[in-house]
Subunit: 245 residues, 2 copies
Amino acid sequence: MAKVDTSLVAHLPLFAGVTPEALDEILREARSARYPKNSAIFEQGADAQSFFLLLHGHVRAAKTTPTGEQIVVRYVAPGETFGLAMAIGAVQYPATAMAVDDSVVLIWPTSAWPRLIERFPSLAANTLQTVGTRLQESHTRILEMSTQQVEQRVAHALLRLAKQSGKKLDHGIEIDFPISRQDIAQMTGTTLHTVSRILSGWESQGLVESGRQRIILRDPHRIVVLAERSADSGARRDVSTQDRD
Amino acid sequence: MAKVDTSLVAHLPLFAGVTPEALDEILREARSARYPKNSAIFEQGADAQSFFLLLHGHVRAAKTTPTGEQIVVRYVAPGETFGLAMAIGAVQYPATAMAVDDSVVLIWPTSAWPRLIERFPSLAANTLQTVGTRLQESHTRILEMSTQQVEQRVAHALLRLAKQSGKKLDHGIEIDFPISRQDIAQMTGTTLHTVSRILSGWESQGLVESGRQRIILRDPHRIVVLAERSADSGARRDVSTQDRD
DNA sequence: TCGATAGTTTGCGATAGCGCAAAACGGGAC
DNA sequence: GTCCCGTTTTGCGCTATCGCAAACTATCGA
């Protein structure tokens, strides 16, 4: 198997504090693979035989209910790890991973993990860091779903996508992979219909420009305002009653 | 300072794979403290100077929005760690921790963490495990908030509390610390009014018995049924349109 | 070039659950 | 025992958002 070029990944947070020789050794345990657009990388419930590092492309991690509804857990950007079921002691993947663009990944066998973290403890520390960060983001998302209305949640979601995977344009930021109204609905806990209505509204105000699986934020600044406004018109959540401390 | 008895904590997942001598050394870095009911242990936004292990009592971790709304991130049960800001690389606590009962905790200075995980790598691995588990639970919660109605979410929340901190009764399970309608609302993304209505309804069906900050599940089995029923009466989420794979 | 297909838009009626208000209740402090 | 305060209950109107249906429109393959 062709060896992966060390320099491509040496700067990643995952490998912080890992010597070049160690990195070399770590990479020797991995193989790389290419997944074409719209192909599944692993399925929710399948045995977690591998964990992954995304090199190129974009991956969507989604969780499905017994009744078939889905939510998007997150979009994976290049340089990020995913499928870390083993790190959390899970035997099966808790979500499905799908390449939303042609993608290239590094793959380690799950069985290699215990040995790797034993030899290179900073791997565990670094992974703890990223998992912890994701936990925080997850809590933020819960906070938003609990306290904000749909329009604000969509605004936040798009701003996050723009920050994570935005391509700067002459005038605006384009989200750098195909994403549908349905996807955004599944990120924000609403329906594609409601997302469509919201984006239509924004489009007519010149805030965004969007089409088939494509969104450009034309006026990020005003979208930030939308995201942060605390539900001014009438319908406000009950803050006064039973306020704690 | 009085040394903490090793045997009290040796069995905790956090210390799995740690030798008694190592555990002794780890505990020497900690001090213990008692927090009376309703006292704050740390505040959201404060410098994360310590991390904690709960020995006795119950702690509520809650996140507050700029506008003052709160959500309950989780309830901490004895044996669990909390305030792990350092592990995730945060400088400040992302939430507020408050003792909901008289509580006893072990406290380590954040500054001790790097040294501890260097000397005892399994601490990092174990912590990664628990943080990963919490991340999964968090995703489950997001899934529920996205796909279920309030009554089901409340059912799930109570069942989880019962499993985590339930005291078995002759007939039923009592949640073992004071918890208000408001608290449950903040766990499920609704209002205390709606929670109150739901519990009233359940009470009249003999599912629960509840009062001031006190809830007893009288018929857990039927509550499980409630939690799992997929919104039968009419209002069902749109699964057919744009189903993936 | 022409369908076929997947994604998007939009209208309309229905409703779950919110916000507000007010009353009832329970427990602890003194 | 009584008062007071935090919690809970309940009624009522309202609206954000859903669910359904149907039309529309890019994009891709034949």
